[in-house]
Every structure is written in C-alpha cells, then in structure tokens.
Symmetry: C2
Subunit: 208 residues, 2 copies
DNA sequence: GGTAACTTGTGAACTAATTCACAAGCCCCT
DNA sequence: AGGGGCTTGTGAATTAGTTCACAAGTTACC
C-alpha cells in the first residue's frame, strides 16, 4: 500500500465524526459535496481521500452513511478496543483519565502511573495511581497498546525509552519535547504552548 | 509579506523552545544543523523557515542563541502578554486554567466561564467561575485576546458566534467540531480523539 | 427503453512544501 | 595578508498534496 499522508488520516477521522452524527439523525446517504462542506474541504478532496482505500460510493447516488461509517472505522482500525495507559497523574494526566470521550471512541484507560510516591495509591475515578516502576511488567502483562505521556519534559524521553523497550508502539505525547523513538513506534505530540503561539503569530501578523 | 505556512510557524515555535533551553545552559551560538537535529528536521528547512523573516545568522559561525531567541519571539508576537479567557469549567477547562506552562509563555488566564449555575462562583485556583452570560461585556472591558473553548461540541458554535461578535480574534478550540468563524478570526483546534485515531490507524497499518 | 440529472472515481494539471546544491561570507591560523 | 574550513542564505529541482475536469455509472421519470 502507498504511504498515506497524515492529513488524509486526520480528515478521515473528521469525516467519521460527521457521519456518526448524521447516522444518528437518520439520514441514509450523503454526497462527497455535503461531507466536504461539513469538513471545510472540497468534494474532490473527500473522494481522493477515500480512493486511497477503495471505492465506497455509488455513482449518481453518493455514499451510504452507514456503510461509509463502517468502512472508515475499519480503515482507522477502530473495529477493536484499544488499551491505553496514562503516565503522569498531574493536572493533564488526571483530566485525561477522567475524560469520557476516550472510551466512547474505543480507547479504554486501563491504568495511570506516577513517579511521585505521594500520588501513588490516589484514586482517579475507578483507577488507582500506580508506581511508574511497575510500567515494564504491566505493559506486557496487561497489553497496553497506547501510552499517553503527561509528564514534565525533562522526564519524557527517559519514560519513552522505557515504554518502547517494553513493547508499546504508539505514544500520545503531551510533553513539549521532540521524542526520539524507534522507527516502528508512532508518536503524536499535542503541544498546547505551540498552539497558543500559533495564535499569537496570527494575531500579530493579521491584516496581511 | 508572503503567506507563511502553518508548518513553518509550528517549527519556529519548536526552535524557540530548544533555544530557550540551550540559552539556559550557557551555549551562545548554534548552527542550523544542530537546531535541525533537535527539531527532527533538516538544516535547509531551518534556514528556509528563518529566511522568510530575515537573515539572523553569521556565515561560517551560525546563530547567536540569544539573538535568535529574541528574533523568533518577535516574529511570533511573544514580546507582549496575551489575555486569555477559558470557556467551560469542566475537566479540560479547569485543568487548563491551572496549567502553569501557559503563563510561563506569556499567556495569562484572566477568567473562566461556565453556563452551569452550579459551577458559577466555584474557585479554580485564584479565579472564580463566572456566568457565561457576562462574556460579551467582559470581553470588551477586559480585552481578552484569546478564548479557549472547552465545552461540549453542541454548544461550541453558538459560543464561538458570541465571542467573535464580541471582538475576540483568536480561538483555541478543544471541542471536536469544525468551527465556522469570520475570516479575520483564527482558530486552532485540538482534537484528542482525532490524535488517538491517528495512532489507531498507524498501529493497524504498521509494517505496511 | 431512452434520456435527463446526478455523483463517483481518477488521471492530469496545478500549487505548496521540502530538499538540494552552491556562491558568498566569516573566522582562525600561519 | 592569504588560504582552509565552516556555515549561512537562497534560487532551482524535487517531492508531496490539492484541485480540476471528465468519462463512466446510477437512478428517476416518461
């Protein structure tokens, strides 16, 4: 299969969220044009995005909302449940652990870790904060698929090394740092300072 | 000035974070190559990114860490303090309000709002949750530059309409929805479900 | 069954972003 | 003062991503 651009995957995710809402409203078919308007893109873009994975529509008619939902879920690998662990029981870590939107989309937070012994044992919803020293043994025993890193930047690389060594292949990184990981590990970084600075740039340079 | 790509702005932000760390360690000059390695890109990319805004280095020698910090801060508009309000005192909103990294970077959270009267008056650090109905009058009186939207998707567009009408030109949106705003308003959306789904895609299609 | 009105799927054309490659400039050493 | 070793800044080439445009397929209706 040809390499798929990250932008394409993002858009598929976005289309799926619209399709699910539309499905809930009882609409049964949708055209690439309607989907494009919802996603702020063009109909050609929608069709091209889908064409990398097959042909899902009917000419003259559009796409079956239900079938397209199923197809995109399959493309994105959402047909199964993913086991997530959160590392860092600070403000961000605990907020994420309590965030229901994750489990709604099939991502189940199974454990939360911290290195601070004062936090270990603390309850976060139905979970109890575990000591980070257990991460290696837990990772293989409990089969975590994804680790969410919500720790200070100075510890992030060290923890990333440990969890990738323990076999975790996907990391959602909230630390404002560029992680170095083996090539078979995927990292997505969410850096809020960077987003705010992008807004600062836009405000400063607006009006040309 | 030519239109600057969002990817360029992101990278400048990233370079700045490295430069600040390096400055703290006492290193006085840096080459595009070293900066590129830190940022996971190429030296040509670093030089090109900077070249859109001027020439900041010395041939044969590299860049002065201190001067480059100052220049990038100026490019990004970080020479001033930005006034931020957070809308939504739920899990994400309160976690963001308490997040110190914002003020370190010059973004000051001045107020937090919610529509739930049970939450209004509640303390979040030194702030007290205000009723959302006050947002219009507060926005002009207190001169908010940036609004952070941390509310359920079904309310996000309505609130976005109100705050843009009230003159706010920049929105950091955590609601998983595509906001429609006037062209002079900049929106950055952080959608964690979408990031997780990107990881799901990578895990599912790894090894090609 | 034929035709009109749509909409997809996809090469081709175009636009944007990244990488190459090298002249020009700077520092250090002798 | 001149040469060698670096590193920047930037047009040119390349690669990646988006948009165009149209043949091909589908439905509805007469």
């Amino acid at each position: 299969m040809k390499r798929i651009a990250e932008s394409t995957v993002r858009r598929l995710s976005l289309y799926l969220s619209f399709l699910e809402e539309i499905e809930g409203r009882g609409q049964t078919t949708i055209s690439s044009d309607e989907l494009a308007r919802l996603g702020g893109t063009t109909s050609a873009q929608v069709r091209k995005d889908l064409s990398f994975f097959g042909s899902f529509g009917k000419r003259g008619l559009g796409y079956s909302v239900q079938e397209l939902c199923v197809s995109i879920r399959e493309i994105l690998g959402l047909g199964r449940k993913w086991r997530v662990c959160i590392i860092g029981a600070g403000k961000i870590g605990t907020a994420l652990a309590r965030y229901e939107a994750f489990s709604k989309r099939g991502f189940y937070v199974k454990a939360i870790y911290d290195s601070d012994s004062a936090k270990v044992g603390m309850a976060v919803d139905s979970l109890s904060v575990r000591d980070i020293s257990r991460i290696e043994q837990d990772a293989s025993k409990e089969g975590f698929d994804i680790a969410v890193l919500a720790i200070p930047p100075e510890f992030a690389q060290g923890v990333a090394d440990r969890i990738t060594a323990a076999g975790i292949k996907a990391i959602l990184n909230f630390a404002p740092i560029q992680l170095a990981v083996p090539t078979d590990v995927t990292v997505r970084t969410v850096n809020m300072a960077l987003e705010l600075e992008g807004l600062s740039f836009a405000l400063t340079n607006r009006g040309n």
